[in-house]
């Protein structure tokens, strides 16, 4: 069967694919969004919800994060839905001397990039967040950090894209990509063929499979993150809090004793949602596509959480789940036009930064497809509409 022709087919209905579909539609392209399961059914519904500058490696990623947060500030209005966006700041806590040294260096680096970050004493941190434990050594504070409801972002992008004429095919799997004379010519799906000249590979954890269909090597490795959700309780924490241990692991500075053979590491990254639920993450593990949760990880996360916010000991956990983050070998997302075939664009490998970077990624994709830029290093060219 033949489905309507599209200027661009976006593969993957997570937050990245949804953003790409929206910005492509907004730029005037006819778009088909093809999703194997449902909108935000993978990584985008099993993730943390922070838009955090402090956790971004200095350089292009940090700059993109700043641009993305600027977009987010107006995005709810633009998409016509409440994204539960809150600008309540973020803190990175240090519980021992090693972490304190790390945090000191981090503050220096971020300030060097023009990010307003303060280093607070443990006492000052507790004054700002009275629910924190009293034996904290220090904490950073960045007023620019934000958080929102990622599910609403994906749904909002898709809804707005549909209003701009985009077609949505959920429960539809891409089976092959037709390449003719070195150019993308069509996408074959379980529901039929879509003639198109552009394919945007936003398949996240599964982006390698899609790339292989056109003979491209794109290394995206699933990294499991286990997360706890508590019952909704009265407001206790403002903004997002990250334990330095988590960031040291993320940015490759984890102490060797915290790593074991299965590549397991964990640290605190948490906050309270608009609904009152705490989302407590996370582990970082390479275990293939296994999304099960483990007793060891759950008790580990619970232990760290209660240490940092003792009052949470009496709060109930209502849900435990794991998500797969699309990790790349160098920790940087792949957002670019491939050298061949023509018309094949990748937007994948955001690992834990996909929520934060989704809007700017969507704009970059639209910029690439329009032929204005080649990859995200030129994102400034599309940053402001």
């Amino acid at each position: 069967m033949k489905l309507p022709t599209a200027d661009a087919v976006v593969v993957g209905g997570g937050i990245i694919g949804s953003a790409a579909a929206y910005y492509l539609a907004k730029a005037g392209f006819s778009v088909a969004l093809v999703e194997r399961k449902g909108i935000a059914s993978g990584t985008s519904s099993a993730c943390a919800d922070g838009l955090l500058l402090q956790t971004k490696a200095p350089g292009a990623k940090l700059a993109m994060a700043r641009a993305s947060i600027r977009i987010y500030q107006q995005l709810g209005e633009e998409l016509g839905c409440d994204l539960e966006f809150r600008n309540e700041g973020g803190m990175i806590t240090a519980s021992n001397e090693t972490e304190l040294n790390y945090v000191r260096g981090l503050v220096e680096r971020l300030r060097g990039e023009g990010i307003p970050v303060e280093l607070l004493s443990g006492k000052a941190a507790k004054e700002l967040q009275p629910a924190l434990c009293s034996d904290l050594l220090a904490s950073t504070y960045c007023p620019l950090d934000c958080h929102l409801n990622p599910l609403r972002v994906s749904i909002g992008f898709v809804g707005a894209a549909k209003r701009l004429g985009a077609s949505l095919y959920v429960g539809t799997e891409v089976t092959a990509i037709d390449v003719q004379h070195g150019r993308v010519a069509g996408v074959l799906t379980t529901r039929g063929r879509i003639d198109t000249g552009v394919v945007v590979n936003a398949a996240g954890v599964w982006a390698s499979h899609i790339a292989r269909m056109v003979g491209q090597e794109l290394t995206v490795i699933p990294r499991r993150g286990q997360i706890l959700v508590t019952e909704a309780v009265r407001p206790m924490i403002r903004g997002r809090i990250i334990g330095a241990r988590y960031l040291m692991s993320k940015l490759g500075k984890a102490a060797p004793s915290e790593e074991n053979k299965s590549s397991y590491s964990s640290g605190m990254i948490f906050g309270q949602q608009a609904s009152g639920n705490f989302i407590v993450g996370a582990t970082r593990e390479f275990v293939g596509e296994d999304t099960s949760t483990t007793y060891e990880a759950v008790t580990d996360l619970a232990g760290q959480m209660v240490q940092l916010v003792p009052a949470l000991a009496n709060v109930q956990i209502i849900r435990i789940f794991a998500g797969l983050r699309p990790a790349t070998p160098d920790g940087a997302p792949v957002i670019k036009r491939f050298s061949g075939p023509d018309g094949f664009v990748a937007a994948a490998g955001h690992e834990g930064d996909g929520i934060c970077l989704a809007p700017i990624t969507g704009r970059v994709v639209a910029g690439i497809v329009s032929g204005r830029i080649h990859d995200y290093h030129q994102f400034e060219l599309v940053a402001d509409p």
Binding site: G159, L168, G171, Y295, A302, G303, L312, I320, F321
Partner: protein
């Protein structure tokens, strides 16, 4: 980590029967129940501090349950009460909250007998204080010897209304009416099915006569349309319904009542089998997605058995037989029983089980909920109580393209609360089916994630410290 030969989850009829049978084989048995007393809902026991002057007033099940509990309370069965199986920590390894502690139990064989819970059918006003399920009313009277206050209305479909009404009367409640959606002629037409179990038919008739004698009204072919009240229930709107469950226009009338007990059947508690990875099948009449099992009650996961309501709503006779059967099979696999022992035990259990299943199937066919009951739920009626999601929210999400329970959850939050969709997911799937024209099962089984029921963060945190001390 503690180890045992056979772990039995749930101590209702199925779990008790399984534990007694398993213990006679000489296997080490752990019987777990999340409550403080054995017996489950059917054999519900009163708190140990109560003094019972006349056990006969606690109903027949109480005394039968006492006998089962006496048999199980030997040193061969390790009883773990106040022990919630909240997750799975590995192959046949259960993650448990026991009292205020968390721990793991590894068993060679697991028998899941987690029972069932009342099926909620929303209607306007169903979240008002004063609207309770018949199961909750039964818990009050069986466990606490308390009855709902004022004029009590029982409404729903199925024979469960009769023993509950009877127990409430015994406890001193004032029953205003028992409202059954099946018509009297419909009941007569299908009553041949009850002939398979004349004892049960007579039992029902006895309850019916006593309820009538108390002055309570009996209304066949009627159902509830709305509960009225500001801060609590003060009245119910009931109406006549046809055989398809549709309201007959103009038949609505208001009854002043103080408590409404709803009895629309049961849903199996399949959370533990889901977490254990057991394959499922869809059987709408028996309660939705159910774990598949072979003729020995073994699921698709080797060494994991299922018994009682968890394998499909069937009542206590099915549960008792399945519990025994599962235990015999588990002990046999374990090498604790000879082939001839097994054969003679199976020969005794199987005929009873078949008869009980036939009767259960008749009840399901006759009294199952009708789609019309969901079709008439107004858009502004809450269906997911935890997250306060309305029927309209669900319908709009489905019209907007949500094609699975998960997609509806992502759009509306239905099922994201503390109950994880136990209460709302059957309603959400039915609403989705009605608005889309697709079958209920097309929306998939509800995703089950640990913890099965909420667990205190501190209880898990203590385990982390325990792990550190050991390493």
């Amino acid at each position: 980590m503690i180890t045992t030969d056979i772990a039995i989850v749930g101590s209702g009829p199925a779990g008790l029967a399984a534990a007694i049978e398993a213990a006679t084989s000489g296997a080490r048995v752990v019987l777990l129940d999340e409550h403080l007393r054995l017996g489950g809902q059917f054999f519900k026991q009163v708190p140990s501090c109560f003094t019972i002057e006349d056990p006969s007033r606690l109903g027949k099940e109480y005394s039968v349950g006492q006998e089962f509990i006496r048999l199980v309370s030997s040193d061969k069965v390790d009883l773990w009460l106040d022990s919630l199986v909240w997750g799975v920590a590995g192959d046949r390894t259960l993650a448990i909250r026991r009292g205020s502690d968390c721990l793991q139990l590894k068993a060679e064989k697991v028998i899941v007998a987690t029972g069932a819970y009342d099926r909620p059918v929303p209607f306007p006003g169903w979240t008002l204080p004063g609207v309770i399920t018949a199961g909750a009313a039964q818990t009050l009277v069986k466990n606490q010897w308390m009855v709902p206050s004022g004029r009590v209305l029982l409404v729903g479909s199925g024979p469960f209304q009769l023993p509950v009404a009877h127990q409430l009367l015994q406890g001193g409640a004032k029953i205003a009416a028992v409202v059954e959606s099946l018509s009297f002629s419909g009941l007569l037409r299908t009553s041949l099915g009850a002939l398979g179990r004349p004892d049960r038919g007579l039992e029902g008739l006895g309850y019916w006569l006593e309820i009538r004698r108390s002055g309570a009204q009996f209304l066949f072919g009627h159902t509830i349309i709305e509960a009225i009240g500001e801060r609590e229930v003060r009245a119910a709107v009931i109406a006549a319904v046809d055989d398809a469950g549709r309201v007959k226009p103009g038949s609505e009338r208001t009854m002043e009542v103080d408590t409404i007990c709803t009895a629309f059947g049961f849903l199996p508690s399949t959370q533990v089998t889901s977490l254990l990875g057991c394959a499922d099948r869809f059987d709408e009449e028996a309660g939705g997605f159910l774990p598949t099992h072979d003729e020995y009650q073994e699921t698709s996961v080797a060494g994991v058995f299922v018994a009682g309501e968890t394998s499909g709503i069937g009542g206590s006779d099915v549960a008792l037989a399945e519990g025994r059967l599962a235990a015999v099979a588990a002990a046999w696999q374990f090498g604790r029983l000879s082939q001839s022992d097994v054969d003679s035990k199976l020969a005794a259990i199987r005929p009873k089980l078949q008869a009980a299943r036939r009767f259960a199937a008749y009840l399901q066919r006759t009294f199952g909920p009708k789609p019309a009951a969901f079709e008439r739920i107004p858009d502004d009626t809450v269906v997911c109580r935890c997250e306060e999601v309305t029927a309209g929210d669900v319908r709009r999400a489905v019209l907007d393209g949500a094609d699975s329970l998960k997609a509806v959850k992502i759009r509306t939050r239905a099922g994201m609360g503390p109950c994880q969709g136990r209460i709302c997911s059957s309603t959400v799937a039915t609403l989705a089916s009605l608005v889309s024209g697709k079958p209920v099962e097309a929306f998939g089984a509800p995703s089950v994630r640990p913890p099965v029921k909420p667990v205190r963060l501190g209880a898990l945190a203590d385990q982390a410290r325990e792990g550190l001390r050991r390493s």
